[in-house]
C-alpha cells in the first residue's frame, strides 16, 4: 500500500472507528455526569451503588438496554419504526467528522496524522445540513409508532426545529463572515491571526446560537418533543431496548456536536486564551495548570463532604493546586513536563471548552422549567430571528467598513 493511500484513506478510517467506538462510551459517562450534577444541584446523592461512587453505572445501564426486550407495537409501521432511530443516530455521529480537535497535523509511526477526520471547505454548511437530517428520524419515529403521544411529540419537534433552524444558521454566518471561510480549521486559524476568540465581536451571534442549539437538541428548557408531563415520553414513547438507546445516543451526541461547534466558532477551538500574547505562552501547557487545580479542588471537596466543613478545604485545595500548576507550567521542569506536541495542548484546550459547554447544558437543565409551546415559538420568531439578522447585518457592515 502506498504511503499516500494510508494517509488519505487508512488513517481517517481508523479515526472514524475511534469516534464510533469512543463516542457511545463518552455519551454513557456524560449521562452519569448529568445525573451526578443534577443530584448535587438538588442536594442529594446521585447514583453510587454500582462501582465506586456509581462509576460503573453507565456500563450497567448499557447492558440493561442491550438485554431488554425490543418491543414493536402491533400496528406500527415496522420498517420505518426500525429506520427512525438509525436515521437520528447516524447524522449525529457523522457531524463529528469535520470537528477539528487540534491545530497542526503531527507524525505518528512516520505517517502524518491530522487531528480531524476531514477538513472540507464547506464544513459549516455540512454541519447545518447534517444536523437538520436528524429531525427526520424523530418525525418518522413519531409517525411510525402509531400512537397519539408519539405523533404529538414528533409534530412539536418538527415545528420547533423549523423555527430554530433559521436563527441557528444566521448566528453562525457572523463567524463565517469574519473569518472569510466555512472550513472549521480555517475559522480557528482566523481567530488565531485576529488574536481574540470570536465570542468578543460575535457575542450576539454566540448568544443566539447557544439558545437555538439548546432548542435544536431538544434539551430542557426546550424539551417539548418529549415533555414527560404532557406527552409521556414524546416521540420515543413506544421505543424500548436498543432502539431507545439509539435515540438516547443521538440526543447526547448532538449535545457534544453542538458544544464542539460553539467551541470552534466562538471560543477558538484548540487555541489557548489570548493566543497572541507571548507572556502567556506557558498556557500552552494548560493541562499542567488545570490538572493540579482540578485535583486540588476535588480532593478538598471530598474532604469537605466527609468532614462537613463547608467549602474552606475546597478553596484551599484549589489555590494550592493552581499555584502548583502555574509553577509547573512556567518552569516546565526543564522541558520535561511538556511533550512539545502542539496536538496535545490543542486537544486539551478543545476538550476543556467542550466540557464547559456540556456542563452548561446540564446546569441549564437543573435550573430552568420547560417553556410553554407558544412561548417557545414567540422566543424563536420574535426574538432570536430578528436578533440574529441584526447580528448578520451588523457584522457585514463592520467587515465592509474595515476592508
Amino acid at each position: 500500500m502506498s504511503r499516500e493511500f494510508i494517509e488519505s484513506v487508512g488513517i481517517p478510517t481508523i479515526q472514524v472507528l475511534i469516534v464510533v467506538m469512543v463516542v457511545p462510551l463518552g455519551v454513557a459517562y456524560l449521562q452519569l455526569v448529568e445525573r451526578k450534577v443534577l443530584g448535587f444541584m438538588q442536594v442529594r446523592l446521585a447514583p453510587r451503588r454500582v462501582g465506586w461512587h456509581g462509576l460503573l453505572q453507565p456500563i450497567a445501564d448499557a447492558l440493561k438496554l442491550m438485554i431488554k426486550e425490543d418491543v414493536i407495537p402491533a400496528k406500527a409501521d415496522r420498517f420505518l419504526f426500525t429506520l427512525a432511530p438509525i436515521l437520528t443516530v447516524i447524522p449525529a455521529l457523522a457531524a463529528l467528522a469535520v470537528i477539528p480537535i487540534a491545530g497542526r497535523p503531527f507524525a505518528l509511526f512516520g505517517y502524518e496524522v491530522r487531528p480531524w477526520i476531514s477538513d472540507i471547505n464547506v464544513g459549516l454548511l455540512y454541519l447545518l445540513a447534517i444536523s437538520s437530517l436528524g429531525i427526520y428520524g424523530i418525525i418518522l419515529g413519531g409517525w411510525a409508532s402509531n400512537s397519539k403521544y408519539s405523533l404529538l411529540g414528533a409534530l412539536r419537534s418538527s415545528a420547533q426545529m423549523i423555527s430554530y433552524e433559521v436563527p441557528l444558521g444566521f448566528a453562525l454566518i457572523g463567524a463565517m463572515m469574519l473569518s472569510g471561510s466555512a472550513s472549521m480549521v480555517q475559522i480557528v486559524e482566523a481567530q488565531r491571526i485576529a488574536g481574540w476568540w470570536y465570542v468578543a465581536p460575535q457575542f450576539l451571534g454566540f448568544f443566539c446560537y447557544l439558545i437555538s442549539a439548546l432548542a435544536e437538541t431538544n434539551r430542557v428548557p426546550f424539551d417539548l418533543p418529549e415533555a414527560e408531563a404532557e406527552l409521556v415520553a414524546g416521540f420515543h414513547t413506544e421505543y424500548s431496548g436498543m432502539k431507545f438507546a439509539l435515540f438516547f445516543l443521538a440526543e447526547y451526541t448532538n449535545m457534544i456536536v453542538v458544544s464542539s461547534i460553539v467551541t470552534v466558532l466562538f471560543f477558538g477551538g484548540w487555541l489557548r486564551p489570548f493566543p497572541n500574547v507571548e507572556a502567556l505562552v506557558w498556557l500552552e501547557n494548560g493541562w499542567l495548570v488545570v490538572g493540579p487545580l482540578v485535583a486540588g479542588l476535588f480532593a478538598g471537596w471530598l474532604l469537605d463532604q466527609k468532614l462537613g466543613t463547608g467549602l474552606r478545604l475546597m478553596f484551599a485545595g484549589g489555590v494550592l493546586g493552581s499555584v502548583l500548576g502555574v509553577a509547573l507550567a512556567a518552569t516546565d521542569l526543564g522541558g520535561w513536563a511538556s511533550f512539545q506536541l502542539p496536538a496535545v495542548s490543542g486537544a486539551f484546550w478543545f476538550f476543556l471548552k467542550v466540557s464547559f459547554f456540556l456542563f452548561l447544558y446540564i446546569w441549564l437543565r437543573g435550573t430552568y422549567p420547560r417553556y410553554r409551546y407558544d412561548q417557545l415559538m414567540s422566543l424563536g420568531w420574535k426574538w432570536l430571528i430578528p436578533l440574529s439578522i441584526l447580528n448578520v447585518v451588523g457584522t457585514g457592515l463592520a467587515v465592509l467598513l474595515a476592508a
Binding site: 443530584g39 442536594v43 442529594r44 446523592l45 462537613g308 475546597m314 446546569w363
Partner: protein, 168 residues
C-alpha cells in the same frame, strides 16, 4: 400586568432599571447562581439500607411483647384486654389457667401484621406495672415474601424477628 399592585411610583430611574433588568436577563442569572451554590452544599440523602434515620422515642413500629425484667418469663398475664381493644382484630390470644396459684398464662399469642395498623391502642389498657407487657417497638421493616411470614408467633414477639443484614 392586570391585578398587580404597584408599590413604587414609576420614575425614569425605575424604568431604566427595569429595562436593564430585562435586557441583562438578571433573573436567569439569579437562578443559575442558586443551582451553582447548591452543588456545594453537603447532601441530605440517607442511604437507607446502609444508614437509617434516627427514630423518636415515641415512634410506633411493630407491637412486641416484653420479658419480665427480673425472672425472665413473659410479662403478659393473659388478660385479653389488648385483644378486645384492637380495632383490626389482629391479636389472637390462647390462654389457660395456671396449674398452681392464681391467674392465667399464655399458651399462644399471635399478631397478624397484615392487619395491624400500628395504632398503639393495645398498649394503653395493658395492666402490668410499671412496664406494659405489650409495647410499640422500633422495628419497621415489615416486608416479607409470603403471607405466613406476617403472623408473628409468641417467640418472634418476644425475641424479635431476624432482620437480614445489609451487605454492600
Amino acid at each position: 400586568m392586570k391585578g398587580e399592585t404597584v408599590t413604587t411610583p414609576r420614575t425614569a430611574a425605575t424604568d431604566v432599571s427595569e429595562i436593564l433588568r430585562r435586557l441583562l436577563l438578571l433573573e436567569l442569572w439569579v437562578g443559575l447562581w442558586v443551582t451553582l451554590k447548591n452543588q456545594f452544599r453537603p447532601h441530605i440523602t440517607v442511604e437507607y439500607p446502609k444508614e437509617t434515620v434516627d427514630l423518636s422515642p415515641r415512634f410506633r413500629g411493630m407491637p412486641r411483647l416484653r420479658y419480665h425484667p427480673e425472672n425472665g418469663e413473659e410479662l403478659c398475664i393473659a388478660c385479653h384486654l389488648c385483644e378486645v381493644i384492637c380495632p383490626d382484630d389482629c391479636i389472637h390470644i390462647v390462654s389457660e389457667k395456671k396449674p398452681e396459684g392464681k391467674g392465667k398464662r399464655l399458651v399462644s399469642f399471635e399478631i397478624n401484621y397484615e392487619r395491624c395498623c400500628l395504632c398503639g391502642l393495645c398498649v394503653d389498657p395493658c395492666p402490668t406495672k410499671p412496664l406494659t407487657a405489650i409495647y410499640m417497638s422500633h422495628d419497621y421493616e415489615l416486608a416479607d415474601t409470603k403471607r405466613e411470614g406476617f403472623v408473628a408467633p409468641l417467640k418472634v414477639l418476644l425475641d424479635g424477628s431476624q432482620q437480614k443484614e445489609y451487605r454492600e
